[in-house]
């Protein structure tokens, strides 16, 4: 069974600084997808970034980027120029290839942004 581990229950970052959230996963699949979701206090899950395992290039979305290390099964999220609105729970998620319907989530990292 696939598992997703987020080893940092809580983190904090100074406004305008950079922070990296860690995620590791365990799978025997070669084709899969990885995601980072943000859950602000409103509790709606918002997709931050996605990465297809077959792509070697790390995904980037504005101030958000990932460091995808396939051999190490690591998928960290870097937030640059942190803003107060980035404060939220961040969940790493895994989904096997096109034939799978499940998303497996980590337990989340609570990010606080200090003004």
């Amino acid at each position: 069974a696939q598992t997703v581990t987020q080893s940092q229950p809580e983190m904090s970052v100074q406004e305008a600084e950079t922070v990296t959230l860690s995620c590791t996963y365990d799978t025997s699949e070669s084709d899969y997808y990885l995601f980072w979701y943000k859950q602000p206090p409103s509790r709606q899950m918002i997709l931050v970034i996605r990465q297809e395992a077959y792509k070697q290039q790390n995904a980037t979305e504005n101030r958000f980027s990932v460091n995808f290390q396939k051999a190490a099964k690591s998928f960290s999220l870097k937030i640059s120029d942190s803003q107060l609105g980035d404060a939220a729970m961040y969940f790493c998620a895994y989904s096997a290839g096109a034939g799978s319907y499940q998303l497996t989530f980590g337990k989340g990292t609570k990010l606080s942004v200090i003004p």
């Binding site: 995601f35 509790r43 899950m45 297809e52 319907y101 499940q102 998303l103 497996t104 989340g108």
Partner: protein
Amino acid sequence: SQTIHQWPATLVQPVGSPLSLECTVEGTSNPNLYWYRQAAGRGLQLLFYSVGIGQISSEVPQNLSASRPQDRQFILSSKKLLLSDSGFYLCAWSRLYGGSKTEAFFGQGTRLTVV
């Protein structure tokens, strides 16, 4: 564009009462539909998913059931609620697009409190 609607936003129900949470998706056809539960301070647990009308897969044995009476409608039900059913329930959809899997898009969630 696609949208997902989930209601009600909050619900307080007595133990032993029935439950019906509804989720509808607009702007797409034949989506994969999901019900997740998020207990306080924890990640998301997949409860049910559906790949088509009348097709329901259960991931966790529980007091709940799901139905998909129409292509873009997904309902979470219970005949008799338990205290342990309290939590935050999220509906989501995803689909295959051009052979690639899209990420899951979430509704705004229902906070259920069983008293």
